[in-house]
Amino acid sequence: MKDVTRFDAIVVGSGMTGGWAAKELTERGLRTLVLEAGRPITPERDFVEHKPPWEMPFRGLGDRRTVAQRQPMQRNSVSFDEWSHVFWTDDADNPYSTPSDRPFHWFRARQVGGKSTIWSRQVYRWSDLDFEANLRDAVAIDWPIRYADIAPWYDHVERFIGVSGQAEGLSHLPDGPFLPPMALNCVEQHVRERMQEKFGRERLLTIGRVANLTTPHLGRAPCHYCGPCHRGCITRSYFSSVNATLPAARATGRLTLRPFSIVRSLVYDARTGRVTGVRMIDAKTKTERAYTARVVFLCASALESARILLNSGLGNSSGQVGRNIMDHIKGGGGSGQIDGWTDRRTIGDRPNGIYVPRFRNVTARHPDFIRGYGFQGGAGRAGWSAALRAPGIGAALKERLMQLGPWSMSFWGFGEMLPREENRATLHPTLVDAWGIPTLHIECQWSENELAIHRDMNVTAAELLEAAGATNIQPSGGPSTPGGTNHEMGTARMGRDPKTSVLNGWNQLWDVPNVFVTDGAAMTSSGNQNPSLTYMALTARACHYAVGQMKRGEL
C-alpha cells in the first residue's frame, strides 16, 4: 500500500479534541491525517464494561505487581482499575519528573480515542462569569473571547455528543439543548428540596449534566445503566471519539487515522514562516518519518501539545509555552448520613451524580478567595464492599453482606485554580521517553487562593448536609495533588497580545499561523467546571475558522 504523506490537515491526537478536529475538518472537505501515539481500538474487542469480576484474574483488585512496576502514577486515577488500566499509559515508557517536594499527577492515555474513553463525561458550559474573570480580578491576562463567541459552538457540540441534564435557567451555568435528565434518587430529591427551602436558588442541587444518552441519538443507543463507563461502551451510549466523532470523520472518506504514531516535533519552514508538517516516530518500528499538510492541529492534551511545541522550538516568543499549568483542586467537601428511606434502594448503576453549581463569588464577594467551586456527589446506600471486614462467620455474615447500609449523601468540591507563570513544564535536560523524545519536568503547586477554596468546600458541604438533616457529618480530606483531577490545562494560553499569550482568539499560534492548539493547553483560566466541553467547542470553532481562512487563501 502506498503511504500517502501529503494531506490538507494533520491532527495530532485522536482524543476529545482530536476527534472533533478530525470530524470538523473532514466534513468541511479537508483530507485529514490523524496521528495517534497509541494503539488502535476496536470496541467489540477492547471495551470491557460488561466483563464481570469473576472473569478478571484478580477480581478487580488489579495486577498489583505489574501495576507497581509499569503504572505507579497512572494507578492514582479514580478511573484506573483492572479493566481500564489498558487505557492508561505505561509510566516506565513515558517518564516525567517533578521536584521531589512538589508531586504532580500526570494521567495520560495513548490509544485511539485518548482520554475520551475514560473521562467522567460531566459537561458544563462556561459563562462570562468565567470568561471575564481574569480581567475583573486583574489576574494573568484576559480571555480573547466571551460567552457569545463560544455559545453557538457549545450548541453545535452538545447537539452532536448528546448531553442529558436539567435546564435550571442559571445565567452563570447556561443551559443547553439537553436530552431528558437522569433521575435523582429519592434522597437526592429530598436534599434538593431541603436546600431549596434553606438557600433558595443560591445553592441549587441538580442532576449532573452528562454526555450519556437518555434517548436514542444520532444512531447511538441510550444508556442501559451498567455503570463502569471508563471501561468502554459497546452500545456507544456515552460520547467518546471512538463512539462518535471518529466514525463521523471516517464516513466522509477523507480521514486517514494512523495509530502508533508519536509526533516528535513540527517541521518549520523559516522562508514562509509556517510549518510544513510534522516529524513522527513509529512507536513499533521506532523509525522516523514526516508528513506534510497545509495546517496542523495540536490536540495531544495540554501537556503533550506544550511538549511538542517546546521540542519544536516554536510558538514560544512570549515565553508562555508550558507555563500557567492549571488543574482543579478537589479533596474538599463532606458526607453525612440521611435517616429514613430504609425501604428504598436504587436499581441499576447510574453513571452520573448530582451537581451544585458554583455559588461563591457569583453575587456576594467572599472575603478569603476569588473565584469558586462546584460540588459533585450523590446519595446511596452502602452495599457489600462496606462489609468486607464485618465481624462474624457463616450464614449471619452472608446475611450481613446482603444488607444495605443507611443512606449517605456526599458532596465533592471541584475548585478553580488561578493561572500562575511559575506553575510550568519545561523540557527535561536529560530524561527521554522510550522513543528518545525529551520529556517534561513539571513544577506545579496550589496557591493560597486554591487552598482557601478547599477549606471553604468543607464548610459549605457541612452547611448543605445540615440543611438536608444529615447526621454524622464528616468533612472530606486534604487537598488533592495538583494534576490529580486530570483537568490539566493552560500551557499555551489564548490571549489578545502575542507578547503575553501563545494563541490568538482562534486558537492559532501567534508565531506560526498554520498551527492551531485546541486542547486544554489553550485555556486562559480554569473555571471550576469540568473542561472538556469547552475544549471541544473551541476545537470546532477553530476548525471552522481555519477552513474559512484556507478557502480565502490566507492559510
Binding site: 460488561h50 464481570p52 469480576p53 469473576w54 484474574p57 484478580f58 477480581r59 478487580g60 483488585l61 495486577d63 498489583r64 505487581r65 437522569m182 433521575a183 435523582l184 434518587n185 429519592c186 437526592e188 430529591q189 442501559h224 445503566y225 451498567c226 455503570g227 428511606w341 430504609t342 425501604d343 428504598r344 434502594r345 436504587t346 436499581i347 441499576g348 448503576d349 447510574r350 452495599g383 457489600w384 464492599s385 462489609a387 468486607l388 471486614r389 464485618a390 465481624p391 462474624g392 462467620i393 457463616g394 450464614a395 455474615l397 452472608k398 453482606l401 446482603m402 444495605l404
Partner: protein, 178 residues
C-alpha cells in the same frame, strides 16, 4: 439449576461438579439430559485447573473447608491461590502460609483431628474464636483468609447473583422498594 435423581435439592452447575467429584455421584449422571451432559463435560474440564501454585494439597483442602464455614457455598480456593501466588508480596504470602496450620493445631487440641476432618461444629468454633481474637488486625493471616473468602465470594458469579448485582438491571430506578 441442576437436579439429579441422587440428590433432591437443585444445585448450581459448579456446585454439582464439586458434589460429583466429592461423592460417588458420578453414577447419577444418567439422569441428566444429553445437552446438560455436554455442558457439564465442558465445565468439568474447565474445573480441572492446573495444580495450585501457592497452596499445598493439604492447605488447599484446609482453605476450602474453612471458606465453606466462613461463607457457606463460597468456592474461592482457586482465587485465594491465585492471589497468594501472583498478588501478595512474598512476606504476605509467607505470613498466610505459616499461619494456616494453626487451624489444624486448634482442631487437634479441641477434637484430635486436622481441621478438614474435624466436625463442622468444631470447625465453626475454631473459626469463631479466631474471628473474635483477630478482630480488626487486618494483617493477621486469619484476616487475610476471611477477607479473601468474603471478597472472593462477593465477586464470584454466585455472589454477584445473590447480591442482586448480576445480571444487570438494564435500567435505573432511584427509588425502588427494597
Amino acid at each position: 439449576m441442576w437436579r439429579t435423581r441422587c440428590r433432591s435439592e437443585p444445585m448450581e452447575r459448579r456446585e454439582l461438579i464439586h458434589w460429583l467429584v466429592a461423592t460417588a455421584g458420578i453414577q447419577c449422571l444418567d439422569s441428566l439430559a444429553p445437552g446438560d451432559l455436554l455442558a457439564l463435560g465442558r465445565d468439568v474440564h474447565a474445573a480441572q485447573q492446573p495444580a495450585m501454585r501457592a497452596l499445598t494439597s493439604h492447605a488447599e483442602r484446609t482453605v476450602s473447608a474453612a471458606a465453606q464455614q466462613i461463607l457457606p457455598g463460597a468456592d474461592v480456593t482457586a482465587f485465594i491461590d491465585k492471589m497468594l501466588a501472583d498478588w501478595y508480596t512474598q512476606g504476605e504470602r509467607e505470613r498466610f502460609l505459616a499461619g494456616l496450620p494453626e487451624l489444624d493445631t486448634r482442631c487437634r487440641a479441641r477434637a484430635g483431628q486436622d481441621f478438614v476432618t474435624c466436625a463442622a461444629a468444631d470447625q465453626v468454633a475454631v473459626l469463631t474464636a479466631l474471628d473474635d481474637e483477630v478482630g480488626t488486625a487486618n494483617q493477621h493471616w486469619f484476616a487475610m483468609l476471611k477477607y479473601l473468602t468474603v471478597y472472593g465470594w462477593c465477586t464470584s458469579e454466585a455472589g454477584q447473583r445473590a447480591l442482586g448485582l448480576y445480571p444487570m438491571a438494564g435500567r435505573y430506578d432511584g427509588c425502588a422498594p427494597v
